[in-house]
């Protein structure tokens, strides 16, 4: 690499860092549109512990089916699963009780408006299926003498949107009792109608096309064949009626971060001090090499922040921040391993600096690869198996490790290659020195010198 080329590369990297840093923080209106650009660092989704959110309390209605507590627990689990499927991996659902009355408290992070929570999980309601010989009028009240065949809280397990023959459909899954009841209902009212009532008013009237005995039904409609939102609204409403207990919306309020209002500020300050000290440490210990590592680290941190803001699974919580800090530590680690190797190479040989650098990179590659792959294995397994709140942590760790290998093995190397044509002989600049007399590494023999007799193996 010649001098000209290396100056060009260094300039490009500098411009990249400056632009990435600016775009991370500034916000401005985009010309010609109504949209604003928000710095990507500000758009990272934060968890309950860092940013607070909205808490909604749902009161559990007493009913006559018995064993309320078990069903409340079941509802807590299905609410949790529902929120995770909507992408709110950090939401918490808690069972509360006072004076024998149960309530379920749902806390959703990163939501500004209390009403949004209700849009997310629907407004839990009483869901009833009634067979009918004619198509009902939407909004009409449930007949007082209606024979309710299926109740959401007792029979329905889940409702979700699926794709069939290119159209959106809503799939219903019933539990065992529900499957039986639904089979009876569909055989009795074949080619007639099933009226779906929500809170006693007709929500939809569905024609029965065939007898369904396997406990799983598909509802098609022209209304949502091409419209995902309409199908999803319908499914959410049914799902909200499918919880094991009947819920009514209680108090909905905004909540502050569980770690305190200044948690994010504290984390940023601590991170800034820590990273600043790492920068100084590297520059002092390894001089020019450390400078290259610092620049690479800056690239690394900017890329990491960018990935965290664009990837949908990342909802940053305190453990997520730990994942980030750990991966920053590992990014530095890879550089330290390489530089220690370069030092050793230079010290105990007569190689010129460029060859020592080359040998150092080559010989530390296996160690860095093995160390990172083992950590990567852990991250991937957690990503696949771990429960929702751990997935965010696993994802940040995963991105961090891949990026740290990239910056240490590619960016740092490129930077040092660029430094070499500018200055390839100064020991001072690279913080290297030859071994002094008396420091020369002894050729150690690792073979024990104890006498070996022929029969000893036995």
């Amino acid at each position: 690499m010649n001098l000209k080329k290396s100056i060009v590369i260094l300039t490009v990297i500098a411009v990249f860092i400056i632009l990435m840093a600016v775009f991370a923080l500034v916000s401005f209106p985009i010309a010609g549109t109504v949209y604003d650009y928000h710095g990507y660092a500000k758009t990272i989704k934060l968890g309950l512990d860092l940013s607070g959110g909205v808490s909604a309390v749902f009161n559990v209605q007493e009913d006559e089916y018995g064993d309320l507590e078990t069903r409340v627990d079941g509802t807590v689990t299905s609410l949790q699963e529902l929120l995770v499927s909507e992408g709110y991996t950090e939401a918490t659902v808690t069972k509360t009780s006072s004076g024998g009355n149960f309530a379920i408290r749902v806390e959703v992070p990163d939501v500004d408006n209390a009403e949004d929570v209700l849009d997310l999980i629907g407004r839990p309601a009483k869901l009833q299926f009634v067979g009918s010989s004619s198509q009902g009028q939407n909004g009409s009240a449930i007949p007082t003498d209606a024979d309710v065949a299926i109740e959401g809280s007792r029979h329905l397990e889940s409702a979700y949107v699926s794709m069939q023959n290119g159209d959106f459909v809503v799939v219903l899954n019933f539990n065992d009792a529900g499957a039986e009841a639904f089979a009876d209902l569909t055989s009795e009212f074949l080619n007639q109608y099933i009226n779906i009532y929500i809170n006693g008013s007709l929500f939809s009237s569905v024609q029965v096309q065939s007898e369904i005995t396997n406990g799983s039904a598909v509802i098609t409609s022209e209304n949502w064949a091409d419209d995902y939102n309409a199908a999803s609204e319908f499914a959410t409403q049914l799902q909200a009626g499918a919880f094991g207990v009947q819920l009514s919306v209680g108090e909905v309020r905004n909540i502050s971060p569980t770690l305190g209002d200044d948690a994010v500020r504290v984390a940023l300050i601590a991170g800034a001090i820590g990273v600043g000290l790492i920068f100084i440490f590297m520059a002092v210990m390894y001089r020019g090499l450390g400078l290259a590592a610092d620049i690479a680290l800056a690239v690394y941190i900017l890329l990491l922040v960018w990935f965290c803001s664009v990837l949908p699974w990342v909802q940053l919580t305190l453990p997520g921040i730990a994942g980030l800090l750990l991966s920053i530590g590992m990014a530095v680690d890879a550089n330290i391993i390489i530089f220690e190797r370069i030092r050793d190479e230079y010290r105990h040989s007569m190689k010129p600096i460029p060859s020592a650098v080359k040998a150092g990179f080559k010989r530390s590659f296996a160690a860095i690869l093995d160390g990172n792959v083992t950590t990567l294995i852990g991250a991937v397994v957690l990503w696949i198996i771990g429960s929702a709140s751990i997935v965010g942590f696993a994802v940040t760790l995963f991105i961090g490790i891949i990026l740290s290998m990239f910056t240490a093995l590619v960016v740092t190397r490129l930077l040092i290659k660029c430094f070499l044509p500018i200055n390839s002989t100064s020991e001072k600049f690279y913080g290297l020195r030859r071994a002094k007399e008396g420091e020369i590494k002894e050729e150690q023999s690792f073979i024990k010198t104890a006498p070996v007799k022929g029969g000893e193996v036995k």
Partner: protein
């Protein structure tokens, strides 16, 4: 000053971790014993073993106390702190008091409310109710020093665990699966003995980190699971880097006998010491500042990480390589034993090249693992006889007392 530095360097250059195993293997044991003593001690006095271990509100549930209708002004934060002190000051009949885990303000319709969540200190429902009633009275008195508090100012309810039911079990399964996969990876890239040493070091980290957390009386909440995974990922990395150096030293010695594994391990540890310490320091620095600046619940998360980083550094430096050396030595002995079913060759004419037929034994791939049979050309084993003879040539040389494939 200079003299001190030289003696330090002098002593450091003679550091042999394999000679320190008497102390280094004892230390984790002592820590675990102290932790057990703490758990039993606290558990016996309070009668509540889960809180003695430090299982927190996320897994256990507890009480949520809500104070309603607070004025939203500049003094709110100070007010909340005062109330927290009042709550933590109330003692039950055993003299124990609650520790607040989370404080949260609620805004929206109906003014500002503050919730305090804390773990119940007793397992008895009546005692819990008595303590909560006492706390309510204390808080009401603090809010309205003279006069009656309006109804509904302070309410409490029992809350269940917020950590998803399957958090622990799934984390446990994930850890087990990843440990097995890591084991397999190290077996492939290194040796089985290195893999077992690394995994044992890993288990050490988990146990010691847990023991240290108990000793430091840090509550275990859902973030602790993430902290532990962080440490495991980090420590295995540390160990691997040192094993990489061992692997490098062993490479030219493949197939030799009487390798001094302890010396290899010691040298590798020594040469990697700068890197091990630097790396742990650069990782720890940010977490330390987070612990210093952050609130108590942030500290609850950072302290286990700091303890775990130290445990991880300790196990990588002092435990992993001596274990590896010992395992490998035993492994070699085992192989030699298995191979020693036959006696050594006549041995007098070692300078002459001898040609042996291949020995079809299970450990044929071991370079140093078997000895030839005497006069086997004539009386080989049954399975061998059908094979074409003399296809593989083994050269016998006394220099390293091994057989090399030519």
């Amino acid at each position: 000053m200079k003299a001190a530095a030289t003696t330090f360097l002098d002593r450091y250059s003679k550091l042999r971790v394999s000679k320190l195993t008497k102390f280094t293997f004892l230390l984790p044991l002592i820590i675990v014993l102290i932790a057990v003593a703490v758990i039993v001690g606290v558990g016996e006095t309070t009668g509540n073993y889960t809180s003695a271990v430090g299982i927190g509100i996320d897994f256990q549930g507890g009480t949520m106390l809500t104070v309603n209708n607070l004025a939203n002004n500049d003094e709110l934060d100070a007010k909340i702190d005062d109330l927290a002190d009042v709550i933590e000051g109330v003692r039950d009949e055993h003299g124990s008091s609650v520790t607040i885990s989370y404080t949260q303000t609620l805004s929206g319709s109906g003014g500002i409310s503050v919730t305090f969540r804390y773990q119940n200190v007793s397992g008895n429902d009546d005692e819990i109710t008595a303590l909560n009633d006492a706390i309510i009275t204390a808080v009401e008195n603090a809010l309205f020093p003279e006069g009656e508090a309006p109804d509904g100012t302070v309410t409490y309810e029992q809350i269940g665990a917020t950590a998803a039911q399957d958090l622990l079990s799934k984390a446990g399964i994930a850890l087990a699966v990843s440990t097995v996969l890591i084991l397999i990876y190290i077996i492939i890239r290194f040796t089985p003995t290195a893999a077992f040493a690394a995994v044992l070091a890993l288990i050490h980290d988990v146990i010691v980190m847990f023991a240290l957390t108990v000793i430091c009386r840090v509550q275990i909440n859902s973030s602790y699971v993430a902290a532990m995974i962080t440490i495991i990922a980090y420590s295995i990395n540390n160990t691997i880097i040192i094993f990489d150096r061992c692997r490098e030293y062993l490479k030219p010695m493949k197939g030799m006998r009487n390798i001094d594994y302890d010396a290899i391990g010691d040298t590798s540890v020594r040469e990697n010491m700068r890197r091990s310490v630097f790396t742990t320091a650069t990782t720890m620095i940010t977490v330390v500042f987070l612990a210093i600046l952050g609130s108590s619940s942030i500290r609850e998360f950072c302290v286990p990480i700091i303890l775990g980083l130290i445990a991880g550094l300790f196990s990588s430096v002092f435990l992993a390589t001596p274990m590896w050396a010992a395992f490998t030595r035993q492994w070699d002995k085992l192989k030699a034993k298995r191979a020693a079913t036959a006696t050594y060759g006549s041995g007098d004419d070692e300078d002459k090249e001898q040609v042996f037929a291949p020995v079809s034994k299970a450990d044929e791939d071991d370079d140093d693992g078997f000895a030839p049979k005497t006069s086997q050309k004539k009386q080989g084993e049954g399975a061998k006889q059908n094979k074409p003879k003399g296809k593989t040539i083994y050269k016998y040389s006394k220099k390293n007392t091994t057989f090399k494939k030519k």
